[in-house]
Amino acid sequence: MPSKYEFEEKFRDQVLRCSRCGFCQAVCPVFGATLRPALNARGKMLLLKEVMDGKIDLNDELIETLFQCTTCASCYENCPSGVNVPEIIKAARKDMVKAGSCHPAFKGMNEVLDKYTNIYAEDEPEDFEREKNQAAENVYFVGCVGLYREDESTSATLDLLDRLRVNYTLIDEVCCSGVLEDVGYPIKDHLARKNIESILATGAKTVITGCPYCSRTFNNKPQYAELKEKGVKVVHVTQFLQGFDFGVTTDKRVTYHDPCDLGRHCGIYEEPRNTIRKIAPNFVEMADNRKNALCCGAGGGVRGAYAKNSIAMARRRLDQAEAVGAEIILTECNSCVHNLANAKLRKQKFRIYNTPQFINELMDAAE
């Protein structure tokens, strides 16, 4: 008998498979910051099981937990029973939206993306003083966070590409809108179309993105399939920079934070480290790294909907950086940079950068 809920249709077996062992509590960033079992992966599965058993309904009372998950997949990575909690949550969110119970921040974001080109409802992006929509080999796609919240990081990355004589152009980009799929809504077709058109118009064969979320959206979502069909490759800037030599180094103690979207979701762990080792011989790993990396707390919409907890999660990650005496924290995601930078306390003296931004700064200093 088909269920009225998508999450049950697709994932009933998995929800039942949750053995309640609670091992997810060891790695869930939301639980780590709040110590509230209701917000942990196990808590979410127990709630959904009760929904499936007809004991409770999907309603507003579940918003606080079903919409407070960074989808970091640490739970899935560590679940002995193989329960894919993030996918189940995303499906349940769609059911919640259908049932009329959605977190106002995401409902708002869905509406914003009908009228604006970006999730922040800003009218104008920062001016990076470069021509857009030129014919070029590569398109550099910045992403909303890079355009509207971390302009310094973006500016530095573009400077670096210029130094490396990469032939690229910016475009009049609009939000890839991939994030909507994670919070209960569909991707905006009109935005996807606009991006595809803008990209194809440049004749570029490669799209380089600063945001691992955008690159995943372009690579995996059917709305962007035309890119692949037309022979356009999409890579994240960390992959693009693999072949380059930079000719600069630092003796500072550097560590690397694996963004969930690049790490656990794409399996890209070594490329960023290869680049960092070229420029920072004094490289140290934090306690939880690679597929065990602790989520910074920004993802899955949590920074927008539950900012306080999101920043508390970022603080836990910074504690790990402090524990290894890092002076510089590098990462490859503007969302991580943003959340970690906001969470940093004044007395903590380390600096947080995107890797390309840091390389560019070293090059600036070398001149």
């Binding site: 091992f23 060891a26 079992p37 209701a38 709630l47 606080e64 002995p80 029973s81």
Partner: protein, 459 residues
């Protein structure tokens, strides 16, 4: 939750630490067992004083209070079976003191076991019990259940390491037990009474643990057997080797198969596999010890005996063992995990008996466990939505307990009685003992508000 009660609780712990939200009540209904029941709400306490005030309030209102750590108990001791409020102790999570010279650590109950290990590691010390749930379980919970673990045979269980406790009694009075001295026989041993009391006599708000220097070398081996009999005999005979391995675990066929589905280990799927570890301070020493153990395996028809070579192999093997029960959960949508324990000489009989029960009731039972101290974990796997299978599971469970008692063993080596084994208490304990236990409970908790309905103590 009753509005006045809620306000009174808010007065004690603050608004942020009181909840009667649906999502909290649902998640507080469960632990890692198959039992569940809604509480009225929950509170998070941050000090012994707050816990004391909460218990005074609960006494006035005759309201059940159920202390909770990580909620990973396997017998239902944290499930609020009679309603009431959950007292979540996870925010009391500081390590208060580590003194290597005094060989002790003082901690709050919400500290996760692994976090204590991480804090002791730089000193070359450890806290031996090593429960499989150590990544998430809290020390307060470990004390409440007298948690065992993989190192039980050589190093004992939690109770062997508790020097003293701070307790809040059901009526709110606060007291201390034990001593910071390494040994004491001053007055009745109240510490031992509370360890393993499953949160029914008092709430632990501070623990002083004895800690050990950590052996720096280990050697690990695995051995496969074509039948349970041989494996059982090998376990029996270990004592004759003169060596007590620091860990000796058994994995049955079903368990091995499930592990293989979850990892790349590619373990041989045989009737029984033994994993052994010896520890010491030099590889010569541990290899020598392991050699003696491996000889016993060979003498008992082990098919293959192999020492693990790399550190990664060793880590993977033990990680696989620790997640065995949750991995097995992939097979059916429900399971019951037992932990019957028998004297070493009866292990083979227990292994065979489990097999017979599985056949008799036509229900799958996977087996793994701490062979080293006779503590097996038969895991009954069944479809919880099929009433027939549920009946067969219950029958099989009952037979397992009877078997263990008949073999001179105990209902539970380390998981506790909770709700799961409460109906079987009188199989193991004579009426006088049960009477004494009930009297103790009544003396500590005359209103029966602290974690009521557990351990078969209600008449």
């Amino acid at each position: 939750m009753d509005e006045k009660l809620k306000q009174d609780l808010i007065q004690i712990v603050g608004e942020a630490n009181v909840t009667d939200n649906l999502i909290d009540r649902v998640s507080f209904s469960y632990d890692a067992s198959e039992h569940s029941h809604r509480p009225e709400g929950g509170v998070w306490a941050e000090s012994a004083e707050q816990v004391s005030e909460i218990m005074k309030l609960a006494t006035r209102n005759k309201m059940p209070v159920i202390p909770r750590g990580a909620g990973t108990g396997l017998s239902g001791m944290a499930v609020p079976i009679e309603g009431g409020i959950i007292l979540d102790l996870n925010r009391m999570n500081r390590i208060l003191k580590i003194s290597i010279e005094d060989r002790l650590a003082v901690v709050q109950p919400g500290v996760v076991y692994l976090d204590l290990e991480k804090a002791l590691a730089p000193y070359g010390f450890f806290f031996p019990p090593d429960p499989a749930s150590g990544k998430v379980s809290t020390l307060g919970g470990n004390v409440a259940t007298n948690a065992g673990g993989l190192k039980g045979a050589k190093y004992g269980t939690t109770r062997d390491y508790v020097l003293g406790l701070q307790i809040v009694l059901p009526d709110g009075r606060i007291m201390r037990t034990g001593s910071k001295a390494m040994k004491s026989v001053s007055g009745y041993d109240l510490t031992r009474l509370f360890v393993g009391s499953e949160g029914t006599l008092g709430i632990v708000t501070e623990i002083t643990f004895k800690i050990n220097p950590k052996p720096t070398a280990t050697s690990t081996a695995l051995a496969t057997f074509d039948n349970l009999e041989d494996a059982g005999n090998a376990i029996n005979q270990i004592m004759h080797s003169g060596i007590i391995p620091s860990a000796l675990e058994i994995l049955g066929r079903e368990t091995l198969s499930a592990i293989n589905q979850n990892t790349d280990l590619n373990l041989p799927e045989v009737d029984a596999m033994l994993l052994a570890e010896t520890d010491g301070y030099t590889r010569e020493e541990t290899d020598y010890q392991l050699g003696k153990v491996m000889a016993i395996f060979h003498e008992n028809n082990a098919h293959e005996v192999r020492q693990a070579e790399t550190e990664k192999d060793v880590e993977d093997l033990w990680a696989a063992r620790k997640s065995a029960y949750a991995v097995l959960a992939r097979i059916e949508n429900n399971f019951v995990l037992e932990d019957v324990t028998v004297p070493m000489t009866r292990i083979t009989a227990l292994l065979n008996g489990i097999h017979a029960i599985s056949q008799r009731h036509r229900i799958r039972i996977a087996t793994f466990g701490h062979a080293g101290d006779g503590n097996l974990h038969p895991q009954i796997l069944y479809n919880g939505y099929d009433p027939e299978q549920v009946k067969r599971m219950e029958a099989a469970s009952a037979d397992l307990f009877k078997l263990a008692i008949d073999l001179g063993g105990t209902l539970t080596g380390e998981h506790g009685i909770g709700i799961s084994k409460a109906p079987f208490m009188s199989l193991e304990h004579d009426p006088v003992a049960m009477d004494v236990m009930r009297s103790l409970k009544k003396m500590f908790d005359p209103n029966n508000i602290l974690n009521p309905g557990k351990m078969g103590l209600e008449v």
